[in-house]
């Protein structure tokens, strides 16, 4: 089964003493036989999105198994829509946003403008919605926009709300991470396996726990293949890894 991990990163986190280097990311992915991963530089989240997107692009040029995800911090405001358009033209496969970590509101006008700009590119976006109420607020913020959105950061306490939102919005998808509850994979797949995507947060997090839960679930092999890679390749328009050694 070809695994595509939609949520990896690299760089330096001032609050972490873990090895989050690009070299370690690549090493871990190879250790687990993961042949495709979306990635982004931490510098783009914590420091400056243009610098971070440049770091991401360089990393993906050096490692063809990595695919670039752009990030924009909308608090900067000036030039944010141009940065989104520029990175789509450059070849980034989608976007990754961190409202809670950066301190901006999912139901604020900055988020709305961000999502409108992404919709113009035709690319998907992954957005963290970790807090109670955030999935619902994002549903309202994205009203009328057709872009594919992947909800990230839900825990066992908030995934129920995310599933309710997915039932309302067919363009919403859900990242599978921290999937620990008994039969949680099966309950999530009730919205359709085609709307679930595996993302591990490697290298900051262990790679295997949610992956193992998907493998051990009662889903069909075809549905497992969708969640572990097929959906990511379809939504982010990635090549078949068999044709991309």
């Amino acid at each position: 089964m070809q695994i595509t991990d939609i949520d990896t990163h690299f760089g330096v986190d001032p609050g972490s003493d873990l090895d989050l280097s690009l070299g370690n990311l690549v090493s871990i992915l190879r250790h687990h036989g993961i042949r495709q991963a979306l990635t982004h530089a931490l510098s783009g989240i914590q420091f400056d999105h243009a610098t971070g997107n440049d770091d991401t692009w360089a990393a993906c040029q050096a490692h063809p198994e990595l695919f670039p995800i752009a990030t924009v911090d909308p608090r900067r405001f000036v030039g944010m829509e141009a940065e989104i358009a520029r990175r789509a033209e450059q070849g980034f496969v989608g976007y990754r946003f961190y409202p809670q970590r950066q301190g901006w509101a999912v139901d604020g006008q900055l988020c709305r403008r961000l999502l409108q700009a992404v919709a113009q590119t035709g690319k998907p976006a992954i957005i963290s919605v970790a807090g109670a109420g955030d999935p619902t607020r994002l549903l309202r913020a994205a009203e009328g926009l057709e872009l594919p959105l992947v909800l990230s950061g839900t825990s066992y306490g908030t995934v129920g709300e995310a599933l309710a939102v997915l039932q309302e919005a067919p363009n919403f998808h859900l990242q599978m991470h921290m999937v620990a509850l008994p039969f949680q994979v099966e309950e999530m797949a009730a919205v359709g396996a085609a709307r679930l995507l595996f993302g591990s947060l490697t290298p900051a997090h262990y790679t295997r726990p949610t992956w193992a839960m998907i493998e051990a679930s009662e889903l069909s092999d075809a549905d497992k293949a969708l969640i572990l890679g097929g959906n990511a390749r379809r939504i982010f328009n990635l090549p078949d890894p068999e044709a991309h050694p």
Binding site: D17, L18, S155, Y156, G157, V159, G160, L163, M178, V179, A180, L181, P182, F183, Q184, E186, E187, M188, T202, P203, A204, H205, Y206, T207, R208, P209, T210, W211, A212, M213, A216
Partner: protein, 247 residues
């Protein structure tokens, strides 16, 4: 992987989250599926609602299943009742330790109401599994453990997001043991705990049946323990800490 898998942190009962939960048959299912030889369980009902009824129901549920052991749920808000629970259930060889969840009891570990309960647990010579989350709670548990140095305490979740602080205080407090069940699976915590404390004070725990045992089992396996470390961490430490006998 060792044949002596022992799960030091399980529960029994439903939770308000989108999974499928069951009674003791679910604990037994996980033991059989994953080759876990024994588990120590606390009552979900006893933690989140009714301590007395939860302990009673768990005692009835595990009777006849010698691979299942139990924690007596105790609560600093109800000190006298907690002492009565310990005195009742410690006569049952399946109840091997105490369990405290400070958050549900609305009593932080630093509260003056916590120390009298710890004194009662320590007086009875039994270890405890204590839910510990955050740096403040980690330090407060270390203070309690240092006050009763003969008492052994298993820090549940390894302090959660304060796992680094948990390892630090355990280095200074030899009667603290760590287990790391947690939905947030930050890399390196198991390996670092073993490197800092040695493999004798790190235990395997899963939080089942809130969690599927597979989740934490995958994390511990990814930590790539040596065979000698695995034998201790995944089983023998729990046998020794709780005085368990495998059926």
């Amino acid at each position: 992987m060792t044949e002596w898998l022992v799960d030091a942190h399980q529960h029994n009962g439903p939770w308000p989250f989108p999974g499928r939960f069951g009674d003791v048959e679910m604990n037994l299912h996980y033991l059989k599926r994953d080759g876990i030889r024994a588990a120590v369980i606390s009552s979900t009902e006893g933690i989140v609602s009714n301590m007395t009824r939860g302990n009673a129901r768990l005692g009835a549920a595990i009777a006849g299943h010698p691979e299942l052991y139990a924690y007596v749920v105790v609560n600093p808000t109800h000190l006298a009742a907690s002492c009565a629970e310990m005195d009742e259930y410690y006569d049952n060889p399946q109840f091997v330790a105490a369990k405290i969840h400070p958050a549900y009891a609305k009593t932080p570990l630093s509260s003056p109401n916590m120390a009298p309960l710890i004194a009662e647990i320590a007086k009875r010579g039994r270890p405890a599994l204590i839910h510990t989350w955050g740096a403040g709670e980690v330090r407060a548990l270390a203070n309690l453990a240092q006050r009763w140095p003969q008492w052994k305490v298993l820090m549940a979740h390894g302090g959660g997001d304060a796992w680094r602080e948990a390892i630090e205080v355990a280095q200074q407090t030899p009667n603290i043991y760590l287990e790391f069940c947690c939905s947030a699976v930050e890399r390196g915590k198991v390996e670092r705990a073993i490197a800092a404390l040695g493999p004798e004070r790190v235990l395997f725990g899963t939080d089942a049946t809130l969690f599927d045992t597979m989740y934490m089992l995958s994390l511990y396996r990814e930590a790539n323990l040596s065979p000698a470390e695995s034998r201790l961490v995944m089983g023998e430490n729990a046998l020794r800490l709780f005085g368990l006998r495998l059926p």
